[in-house]
Symmetry: C2
Subunit: 128 residues, 2 copies
DNA sequence: ATTTATGCAAACTATTTGCATTGCC
DNA sequence: GGCAATGCAAATAGTTTGCATAAAT
């Protein structure tokens, strides 16, 4: 069944995404992890992020401006990416499951979806 | 106002996205363009895709699996990416403008959004 | 004439992979 | 003990940039 091994590195990667709580990228996870465990390699971070997302323990919320972000909150919700500071915010709106709203996709297996808003966040608008 | 110059390359890039009609990537545009104009460089394709999207003449529909796709259909619509063949399909559903559904984002300027579905397309399900 | 755009090559960023070694189960 | 996971370095994919030259206005 579960032929995945429960390594220290895997725990560290999972915990980093949770503790950072910023829709972290692989790079951010890596920087966080090596503070306490300096020998962990970046390849291991990438491998574990992919596997954890595959296993449903983390959520790959998509690629924004060339970089993939992960979320420890796996239930359906949405995101906003600031075009200036590139921070990712949660969007608290509730929509009906959009998979049910789609017509004319017979024969397709829709596994999920991402809804990503973009624009300028409060902080960046104030500064301008 | 418009200090952009109307070069042959820019026309070729725009036309390629339209004629390909497959939510093309820079690579696909490049391959298409050099069939008729073999000296056009990939950097020029990238530069023009960015500029055309910036100008609103093309739509950057987001980065799927590490690659940015462009659409000549600039009015609001949605997409489905097949995880297997990685083709991008239009999703014909009509939703109300989701920007109006969002609460608790005061002070944010929401410029737009992408709604991207993913899963397996008809062709790939048949083959399996 | 001016100044943006091009082509080329090199640089850069994000990510993946091969492989010998380590360490979970 | 066996096999999945790691660390390292090198490879790859997508994209951007510097610069001399070409071409649009």
């Amino acid at each position: 069944m579960d032929n995945k091994r429960n390594t220290i590195q895997r725990q560290l990667v999972y915990n980093a995404v949770e503790e950072l709580n910023i829709h972290a990228t692989a790079e951010q996870v890596y920087e966080y992890v090596i503070k306490s465990h300096p020998t962990v390699s970046k390849a291991t971070v990438y491998r574990n992020l992919s596997q954890l997302a595959e296993a449903g323990e983390l959520l790959n919320i998509g690629n924004f401006f060339g970089t993939t972000h992960y979320d420890h909150n796996c239930h359906e919700h949405y995101h906003f990416m600031c075009e200036q500071c590139r921070r990712v915010y949660d969007v608290p709106a509730i929509f009906p499951d959009m998979r049910n709203e789609i017509a004319d996709m017979d024969g397709f297996e829709i596994k999920g979806y991402n809804l990503n808003f973009h624009g300028l966040c409060r902080d960046c608008l104030v500064v301008q």
